[in-house]
Symmetry: C2
Subunit: 353 residues, 2 copies
């Protein structure tokens, strides 16, 4: 279906479920292509063979970790554009962000593309945020192709949020390990020859604050937001968990997963059979010393690109609810004793028949 047809279909249905917070797109938005680049440790994990590129070391030939993270975004986007058979100029807008203060990985990673940029911040949920806004731009008829890019880097994130790496602090078992990686996605209004999946709706998330303060247990901090977004999605779309082949959170990890399942059971919703978490999948917790699991914008983005989209493309999963999760803290808010609220953005991905 072309973008023009999309717009014809854009009628009264755009404001689906106005009482809720979801949008059901009246016309499909295609994920035309994607690319994933990760660091050495991620390459050694269970999904290692699936990523498009794996770095030899986490500096990626740069002088600083921040530069390395910018390079990840740049290379992921270049690769995604190339795989899609497009030129940079075909990408009308960029929707991108990262975890660093003032989103510098994005600013220095994407400048050379010289495309208009909508800069985003949703902590580790930013992949869902970028796909949501990118899909709205396509569905609304504002662009034929847009790109959505997010990244994280273990070392730049530790520096940004926690302790200097040289300090060698002990990490509790509830802590997660920030993924070094970037995922880039090309969204299009037309299917083309090789689209991977279609985005049929979104459930943008609210900030949910259960009063937790432990930045070393971000899974627990984010689980209430994930539960809220999943609950709202099921309500707004009138679906049951079994209407999804998978409900996939971003980086709750093992502790957050338990909290999520419990919170939804309190609302009489059981997603134990459908639930998967990118943070649990990307590392082998037994051998890689990553404790609760992977985290970061790059976690959900690279797992979506390398693993989830392949399953959807092959039709093994027909419909997936992808819910990247973010913990809303900074070192300033943490040091001032603030809570760590969460946010989670839901994106409905479907197989193209």
């Amino acid at each position: 279906m072309s973008n023009q047809e999309n717009k014809k279909a854009l009628g009264e249905k755009a404001m689906f479920a106005c009482g809720g917070q979801s949008m059901k797109f009246p016309a499909p938005v295609f994920i035309k292509e994607s690319a994933s680049i990760v660091g050495k440790k991620e390459g050694e994990g269970p999904l290692g063979d699936l990523f498009d590129m794996v770095g030899d070391d986490d500096m990626f030939g740069c002088n600083t970790w921040e530069e390395a993270e910018s390079g990840l975004q740049r290379d992921a986007l270049h690769l995604a554009i190339q795989k899609a058979g497009l030129k940079t100029d075909d990408i009308r807008y960029l929707f991108a962000g990262d975890l660093l203060g003032q989103s510098i990985a994005t600013s220095f990673g994407l400048a050379q593309f010289e495309r208009p940029l909508f800069g985003l911040y949703g902590a580790c949920s930013t992949c869902g945020l970028s796909l949501s806004l990118g899909a709205m731009a396509i569905c609304g008829g504002f662009a034929e192709h847009v790109a959505c890019v997010t990244s994280s880097h273990f070392a730049s994130a530790e520096k940004e949020f926690r302790f200097p790496l040289g300090y060698g602090n002990q990490r509790p078992l509830s802590a997660s390990w920030t993924v070094t990686g970037s995922g880039a996605f090309i969204l299009s209004g037309s299917r083309g020859e090789s689209a991977k999946a279609v985005i049929t709706g979104i459930t943008p998330g609210k900030i949910v604050d259960f009063g937790l303060k432990d930045s070393m247990n971000m899974g627990a901090c984010m689980a209430p937001a994930a539960a809220d977004t999943i609950y709202r999605n099921l309500q707004d779309f009138g679906r049951k968990p079994e209407d999804y082949d998978r409900i996939i959170t971003g980086d709750l990890g093992k502790v957050g997963q338990r909290a999520l399942l419990d919170l939804l059971l309190e609302r009489e919703i059981d997603i134990a059979k459908q639930h998967m978490d990118c943070g649990i999948e990307i590392f082998d917790g037994e051998t890689q010393d990553t404790h609760a699991g992977g985290s970061g914008c790059g976690c959900a983005a690279t797992v979506l690109s390398a693993y989830i989209l392949k399953k959807i493309e092959e039709g093994i999963w027909k419909r997936v609810l992808f819910v990247p999760t973010g913990a809303l803290l900074s070192k300033t808010s943490f040091n001032e004793g603030q809570n760590v609220p969460g946010i989670a953005h839901g994106v409905v991905l479907e197989h193209i028949d």
Copy 2:
């Protein structure tokens, strides 16, 4: 015009000027209401009488500057919703951001509204970014009402980007003074009784890096981005400077203004008669010791709400190009010797006949 009629009008024209980077909205997006709250110093400036609320001191009764900034966002949004005669639940989505690392002013300021949040980061251009995405959501038929909120705070920004205030460092004359303030805007698909202005198009900006590195001269760092966005807007819409009653940048200040006018003259575009800068307007540089002018997300947002929208509503200005400007740096990028690129997002505002 109602949202339904909007969508009918949404035809082939949505992808206006595909070769360019602008969107001309096929249906109007109304700024239904707005609110502005500022600190004491801003209240003592030339526009002091126009703001909705002025604080007695910059702590606003809070324990930290960051909490105070969150409070500004919360109060500005409450007031805007109230002035619009709406309830919180009428606001389908929030588009918001601020200057602080991980956007904590937004996270802790807007949580209690319990509305889905699209978190944004565009440095001091974030007001333009939020209006652009909010307008796309309305024009695309994804919501009937959305809110766009941005803030900055002098003390939280100095702590985030420069020196501890207690250090009492000297500021060069090219430095700007971060505005303490927040502006909130309610965008709607229908005009209602009292809409202030209509958004007819946008020109989302690219990252523009001229290699400047002086974070104490952000006006010069941002001027190339402003020039690029203004140039693109005029090209994409086929307009001349005199087609606008005012072309209003966010926070270039006096140094940046000179650079902007020179850069556009090199392209044979003279906007000297139309140009105005929110940063120059908000303070009296002679008596308030603010050097080049005001800056920050709150600068453009509060001046738009308190001053620009009134002029447009009254028909004194029929068409305005509003171009908030952002400097893309963090203390990390600055300390690592990176440049300070700029970005500027253009929004076309018109009088409602």
